[in-house]
Symmetry: C2
Subunit: 494 residues, 2 copies
Amino acid sequence: MKRVASGILPVIAIDRKAPKPLHRQIYDAYRTAIIEGSLRPRQRVLSTRALAAELGVSRLPVLNAYGQLLAEGYFESRVGAGTVVSSALPEQFTASGAALQAARSESRYAPRPAAHRCSLLPQRETSPWLQGLGAFAVGQVAYDQFPLQVWSRLVARHCRSMNARSFHYGDHMGLRALRETVASYLRTARSLRCEADQIMIVSGSQQAIELSARVLLDPGNRVWIEEPGYHLAKAVFATKGCHLVPVPVDEEGLNVAEGIKRYRKARAAFVTPSHQFPLGVTMSASRRLQLLEWAQTNGSWIIEDDYDSEYRYESSPIPSLQGIDANARVIYIGTISKVLFPSLRLGYVVIPPKLIDRFVATRWAMDLGCPGIYQEVLADFIGEGHFARHIRRMRILYRERRSALVASLRKEMGSAVEVMGSEAGMHLTVNLQNRADDVRIAERASSQNLRLWPLSVNYLGEASRHGFILGFGSTAIEEIPRAVRKLRKLVEGT
Amino acid sequence: MKRVASGILPVIAIDRKAPKPLHRQIYDAYRTAIIEGSLRPRQRVLSTRALAAELGVSRLPVLNAYGQLLAEGYFESRVGAGTVVSSALPEQFTASGAALQAARSESRYAPRPAAHRCSLLPQRETSPWLQGLGAFAVGQVAYDQFPLQVWSRLVARHCRSMNARSFHYGDHMGLRALRETVASYLRTARSLRCEADQIMIVSGSQQAIELSARVLLDPGNRVWIEEPGYHLAKAVFATKGCHLVPVPVDEEGLNVAEGIKRYRKARAAFVTPSHQFPLGVTMSASRRLQLLEWAQTNGSWIIEDDYDSEYRYESSPIPSLQGIDANARVIYIGTISKVLFPSLRLGYVVIPPKLIDRFVATRWAMDLGCPGIYQEVLADFIGEGHFARHIRRMRILYRERRSALVASLRKEMGSAVEVMGSEAGMHLTVNLQNRADDVRIAERASSQNLRLWPLSVNYLGEASRHGFILGFGSTAIEEIPRAVRKLRKLVEGT
């Protein structure tokens, strides 16, 4: 019942000079709107008093028209809901909107309806491993552990106290208070060298990648991407008209020497050094220095996506590339959505000082910023220490889940799978030693409520590994053994 | 005090096998972080218990290190706030981050640091008429009239009841319930022919324009834009590498015949037919039919931005272009931010059925959707009738403000200004008969807290009119006469 808009004034043209009487004009307008499907069954209509006021006419012709519409069964009166469009109209009478649309979509089209570059994107994403919830789904967090009470209290407080300033468009870079806390967090936790002036709040890492690509890259530029690598980053560079240069990833991360061999003059490199997506390795210190050296010598940019750096379970923390870069060649990207919850849609990009104006101008043409309230709430959530506390709790939880998953994989599948990468993040990747068809297995798995993201689809060239990316963020320890047994049966069944 | 992140673990590498004792490693790590500016004065540090747990060491070395840091004045204890970085550190001791940054930003750069296409955008928007609040600011609403109580109640209710589904990424097109209510609203209020399946929720009309351009246009395509027209739409088409074809606007709206003369084969037209920005005219019925006819014959697209269609103060409502288009050539764009409040960041685009997949794929590469909670709240806000009620109240208020402004302009300035456009929207445009330098006047006005958006800057070619766009959404009736007197003095002073 909530899915229709209540009390909306339909488009009624009233002409006082027309020979047709007013009540008839009103009657005709409603009848047409109902027959054509602009008004739908059960939709509430304005009260006669409100309609008369809206149209600037006396109530009499409105009462007259409504009376006739009620009498003929177009309207009905509902106790407590006022007057609504009748729910009992015969089907053939109310041209169903869907049928109308079907007819319309058949109309002749000029050739080449959409942009050429847009056709470079994969069609609507329907891969079963990216749909909905389920064991091993990637990018999901332990929702039941979120401190919802603290969060809602902050949301309610900020919402009640909204004023002209918070209703209005905000700062081009995002809320100042949030940028200050994020800068402080990044300096402390990730060794970034940054000030609040360099932080731009964005809707998540995807927007940050899009924005960086638009500021840094022209069509025809070449970009190093990790092989295997993150599909939505590749989609961004491809739609900018850039050429992707796949650079292999080994146990030390991106193979910089190989990248230089393949295309030294690339304009940018996109990397996930903390926890490579999808293989999960951490880029070694020497590779980091090589990459920075290449960028500096070559005048290239590094886009560092530090998407789940909050969760490392090994002893030695590794400072970000941005933190050891002396030459401001790194654009640093992070997300809050992966730490708190995805529908939050907040992330940030740390911009080299000389590029700030370009980022602002480009962002402003893309959208006019993120909603204000979540920025205010998040600033307090970080500032009051809840953020750090939540990360500490989740680090313990995810470490346990990861250990349980690794133990289960070893027990059930033994040497059939190799667990890859470092102890970090909210997913791990397994390599199938028998090189079974991971896509086919993943498709079959979805009917068993298992979300297996095949490794092979993350390669641009031929996949040198087959396997799965297994998320454990929202998979409870108790569920893990059963889910791994299902996985084993699926792999054995091929 | 809130502007620093609380309780964050700094990057501390602990090496049990090193000859350096643990307490000294911890002491050195903190001291370095403070000297280098990663930790800043007044920032709260972890409790000794929490740090020991994080590092996996006993509490003794931590206590030892903290004791020394306190004794040497790096830390201080604050009642109620635990241990914080000392606020009394000598300036020269803590390398100020700003100074560090300045040094870093001076490092040598490779030539041509940013993308060529990005340089087509205007530099960071600093025009005084677009900054902050003040009389006549455009795009601002009557914040004090917003039903904040109803709204916060809905926000609080939805926030408290968040669950796995609402925490997670949503539907690619936006929340289903919201799309249903928006479709129902548009069918009724704007005569659109649309179903919820065609509605995509976006962050506002700017994102909708960006998205449409990416789906429909390739570099080198020509696009009709209104002359004068909306600067942020032009920015979008320019950064896509499109050529802008300015088509003059007269009292009937876009001059279609002139557009055909200038460049018949344009791939798309961007129009604001309900309330042309900035002149305020409403496109006549015959021009609407001409435009649709041109699009159909020519295989071109029409992007209809209906940004403030909710507010018409004249008798005859005009159905949208989308509603009278039989051939699915119209992309319809609308915004909620202009009706409720700008920092809401919600709008929608109504997509022709055959293009839905393209829009979804393109959007998914740009950002992964809008935050969930405001979508849920808005669906209820519309469904429960608050939206329609708010629009009705605001229509009365804005009509009064507009009348008061027109009366004041006539009284104070008489024939010196011509009030243009139809009775609609939240701003009107005046044409200065003496063709004074509107940009210079606007710059001087800003120091008097008057936000005058000069008309001439909205032209791509030579401005055939000088004047101002005057917003009255957030300018109370009582303020209007005084603001108009200021305006008169500024105009006379030139």
